[in-house]
Subunit: 196 residues, 2 copies
């Protein structure tokens, strides 16, 4: 059997190009033809591979959240440092990212802002991602409490949820206001509040 | 001179109806004809009074931020309670609002998520509102520090900036995930972190 014609594009790369376009322009602001141009594919390949603009959007969001959460988790679990030091490093990286002028915020936050309040698929995807993020923070805070670097009276669950809200807020602010000093303040205050 | 024909609508009410539509559907998702229907006006009155969809949007955002910030400030300055108690009440009201299933989040946060990253007018409007919010929190925290209810080592500026990020995050989460327990956790953790 002869192989079919070579595919004209790399689906993974195309997915990331689509993600960046959605991120910059939002779902409604991203046209099908702009997607095709950015991804370097024609309409037939587009529909064959991704189904529809909406499916492509949900798939690129899932790809994004999986990547970001894996990175944050790896940072929080780095065996070379103590847990609070890892948290400081992870928040420091977010601060540097969202304090820079080219921050687009968090794609998840952008999606939350853009979603109609009745978009159940998107809401489920976002809730799942936020829950995984909460668990990653919570595990880190429990470890930090165990080694005495976080206030023994703090509730790791409450503090983890606050960190989720705080980091989403940092990302949202990063989309419109970029002073690094502001992001630094936020991280300093969060860490100050956690210490014994 | 005889008066012109009576205006067919109340501009303030129309502005709030437009605001609610933008809030629910976003800027791009809100058509001119949906705006006219919600506001009960024809295209000519629309253009005569509001100029364009974009001007109407910026005007409704400004109206919204002025109203919300005035309310938060009044809550933080309530002379019947101490400053930390006022902060608890204000955060409690935000928690109740964003934990309820009909929360649409914060219109400002939605706008931040929806704005193209190069929308300078909107970014300026949002930055100004966030700055006013930061000052309101900061004044409250300074008063709470002075009466000993907030940790003397905390930086009111840093903590105020963290509260801005945290409340924006709460609102964003409220748009897609509504468990009241989550919002309660966030507020508890924030207050725990501030106490001496």
């Amino acid at each position: 059997m002869s192989p079919g014609p070579a595919k004209q594009f790399d689906p993974d790369l195309a997915l990331e190009q689509a993600r960046d376009l959605f991120w910059e322009r939002g779902y409604d602001g991203t046209s099908l033809s702009a997607l095709e141009a950015a991804m370097g594919i024609g309409r037939k390949s587009f529909y064959d591979t991704f189904g529809s603009k909406r499916e492509l959007y949900l798939r690129s969001l899932r790809h994004y959240t999986d990547t970001v959460i894996a990175k944050i988790r790896a940072g929080l679990d780095d065996p070379r440092n103590g847990p609070l030091e890892n948290l400081e490093r992870v928040l420091g990286r977010l601060q540097a990212h969202h304090g820079s002028p080219d921050s687009l915020g968090c794609l998840l936050g952008v999606a939350m802002g853009q979603a109609g309040s009745d978009d159940d698929d998107l809401a489920a995807l976002v809730r799942d991602a936020l829950h995984r993020l909460e668990l990653a923070f919570r595990r880190n805070l429990e470890a930090a409490q165990a080694d005495g670097t976080v206030d023994a009276d703090a509730s790791p669950r409450d503090a983890a949820r606050a960190l989720v809200a705080l980091t989403q807020g940092m990302a949202l602010l990063g989309r419109v206001a970029h002073p690094m000093a502001q992001q630094r303040s936020i991280v300093r205050a969060a860490l100050h509040g956690l210490r014994p």
